[in-house]
């Protein structure tokens, strides 16, 4: 009986799996969107767009690594710096992750977790940012890559997913404050905000030791205007092409080719990124319709992608200032293998800094510079996983370059979660020391979050005292503790 099931599932699924990532995802995404109630042709439209986006991104990765890897190798040889990992930024990583059917599995699990938390009144946030589930899937797949199994990988993803939803409730009053709008349902479960607890520690140190630095804060909007196009995607591609070309002793013609190729690829990554989001759109709408239909009458906060905060100029000013700082850190940081390129404008870094410091720019920059090594290390750690996974989608990628050549992203959200995934994977793979470290790290992670939670409850109680409307669930229960 069991033999027959295995036989027939092989007969049915093997030919599909052999088709490759783009056709698999076309089929899987279409069927799942259809299953949550999306009109079949809308579902199919999404599936086709996903197949196109996967194909497009793999050829652009090929274009970028094909042009850059020889120059990067020459750069490594001539400078002695072991920075052989090309930084592609977020869009290719999102693509690679959305190229795995497991992403839809993690999505399904996390939607169930979210609805269960809403039903049990553990949260007020309904997450409609379906696309960004790839952050969680990336973390889970990373754990599995290092040796975890599907069960522990999933439990880990569920754990982080729950913490993120708690965090979105805690941050809600701060979002209202920063938007200067106390009557909107916007919040976010974006993974980058899981750096908040650590940033809060630095922010406390600032409160005690360097409060006088705050008076040197400058006007972020004016700075951004001055930087203008010099900070745009293509300008950054040009600089880094020239930088790598010169340090790699390339001929002038090649330097121009590198500069223009980098600029082209960085522009195209974000265009193709928008195709991705469009491909998941029918599914996102379907899930939201399903959830709101079954939770009628509840007033929620709605979890969006982080950029509803992107109107705050500090996010961009800090990212612009941190870019050259990150490049300098990458050159001297022991254990880092990434040469910053696609991810150098750290949008996975600065929103959390804004929330914790509430827009104090000097603090954002100083704390950002201090925490950036974590991102570089996490990017270096996940590079073998990203490279292996990308090769499944783009088999011709990195053809003809050394086997140590890898790809990754320098500012991927959730560096701490990536370290935890590594420890979990290695620990489950049989390394008892790593397993012990994993449990110790989890205890520290939860303890730090609980301290952060208390700090945020204090902050939210303050907001309430100022006369703002704050959900009592995210305030201190005991007002006396607030006064202390």
């Amino acid at each position: 009986m069991l033999q027959a099931i295995i036989h027939w599932s092989n007969v049915i699924f093997n030919p599909i799996i052999k088709l490759g990532a783009a056709p698999i995802m076309l089929i899987v995404l279409t069927l799942i969107a259809w299953a949550v109630g999306v009109n079949f042709f809308h579902a199919l439209e999404g599936g086709i767009k996903l197949g196109i986006a996967l194909t497009a991104i793999s050829s652009i990765i090929g274009l970028l690594t094909g042009a850059f890897q020889p120059a990067v190798e020459a750069f490594v040889k001539s400078t002695g710096l072991h920075l052989g990992t090309t930084d592609l930024g977020w869009a290719p990583l999102a693509t690679i992750t959305w190229g795995s059917p497991y992403t839809l599995f993690f999505l399904l699990i996390l939607v169930i977790v979210n609805i269960a938390m809403l039903v049990m009144h553990l949260t007020d946030t309904l997450d409609v940012d379906i696309f960004d589930v790839w952050h969680m899937s990336f973390t889970g797949l990373l754990a599995i890559y290092f040796g975890a199994n599907l069960l522990t990988g999933t439990l880990f993803v569920v754990f982080i997913g729950i913490m993120k939803i708690f965090n979105s409730d805690l941050m809600k009053p701060t979002f209202n404050d920063l938007l200067d709008n106390w009557d909107n349902p916007m919040t976010t479960t974006h993974l980058n905000y899981m750096m908040n607890p650590l940033i809060m520690v630095f922010n406390k140190i600032f409160d005690v030791v360097f409060p006088w630095l705050d008076k040197y804060d400058f006007d972020a909007a004016k700075l951004n205007e001055k930087i203008g196009f010099w900070g745009s995607r293509y300008a950054i591609g040009i600089y880094l092409g020239i930088f790598i070309g010169i340090l790699g002793h390339q001929p002038v013609g090649t330097i121009f080719t590198l500069a223009f190729t980098a600029a082209t690829c960085l522009e195209l990554f974000s265009i193709i990124g928008s195709w991705f989001i469009a491909s998941v759109e029918p599914l996102s709408q379907g899930i939201t319709d399903f959830a709101t239909k079954h939770l009628n009458g509840r007033v929620f906060n709605i979890g969006l992608d982080w950029p509803f905060m992107a109107g705050r100029a500090e996010i961009w000013a800090a990212a612009n200032v941190l870019a050259p700082i990150m490049l300098a850190e990458a050159l001297i940081l022991p254990g880092n293998s990434i040469l910053p390129l696609g991810g150098i404008i750290g949008m996975g870094v600065t929103p959390a800094l804004l929330i914790v410091t509430r827009g104090r720019l000097i603090r954002m920059i100083v704390i950002g510079a201090l925490e950036l090594p974590l991102f570089l290390w996490a990017g270096s750690l996940s590079a073998p996983f990203v490279t292996t996974t990308a090769k499944k989608i783009a088999p011709n990628m990195l053809k003809g370059v050394g086997s140590h050549a890898m790809i990754s992203s320098s500012t991927k959200e959730g560096p701490i979660e990536q370290f935890l995934a590594y420890l979990l994977g290695k620990g489950q793979g049989g390394d008892m020391k790593m397993l012990m470290f994993f449990f110790l790290a989890m205890v520290a992670y939860v303890a730090l979050f609980m301290w952060y939670r208390h700090e945020m409850l204090k902050r939210n109680t303050e907001y309430a005292k100022q006369g703002h409307k704050v959900n009592p669930d995210v305030m201190l229960k005991n007002k006396a503790a607030a006064a202390k």
Binding site: T288, D305, M309, A310, G311
Partner: protein, 101 residues
């Protein structure tokens, strides 16, 4: 043609949702609307001059005051038609008031 500009973090996700929703709904209401999506950090005075309406997600800090009408379009992102409707109504009101074509 009425030109609208939307902006978000990477010019990729939220702003594209606003773009698609505005183009679709305004076409339904009989207007010829084109919407572009950009990164917020690329917004400047010169760029806005080429558009009729700026559809922001939430308050945007800029070093200048936009001369074109600004609409708060964040509610489109909630994916609930009833909440998005006031945004479309506001855009339509601006189109009528300014006599945009």
């Amino acid at each position: 043609m009425i030109k609208i500009i939307a902006a978000c973090g990477a010019g990729v996700n939220s702003s594209h949702q606003i773009k698609d929703a505005l183009e679709k709904e305004m076409k339904k209401r009989g207007y010829d609307v084109h919407c572009d999506a950009v990164m917020i950090k690329d917004l400047n005075e010169g760029l806005l001059d080429g558009y009729d309406i700026y559809a922001e997600i939430a308050k945007t800090d800029m070093s200048f005051t936009p001369k074109i009408p600004v609409v708060d379009a964040g509610a489109i992102l909630y994916r609930m038609p009833a909440m998005a409707k006031p945004v479309y109504d506001k855009v339509e009101a601006i189109i009528k008031k300014e006599g945009l074509k």
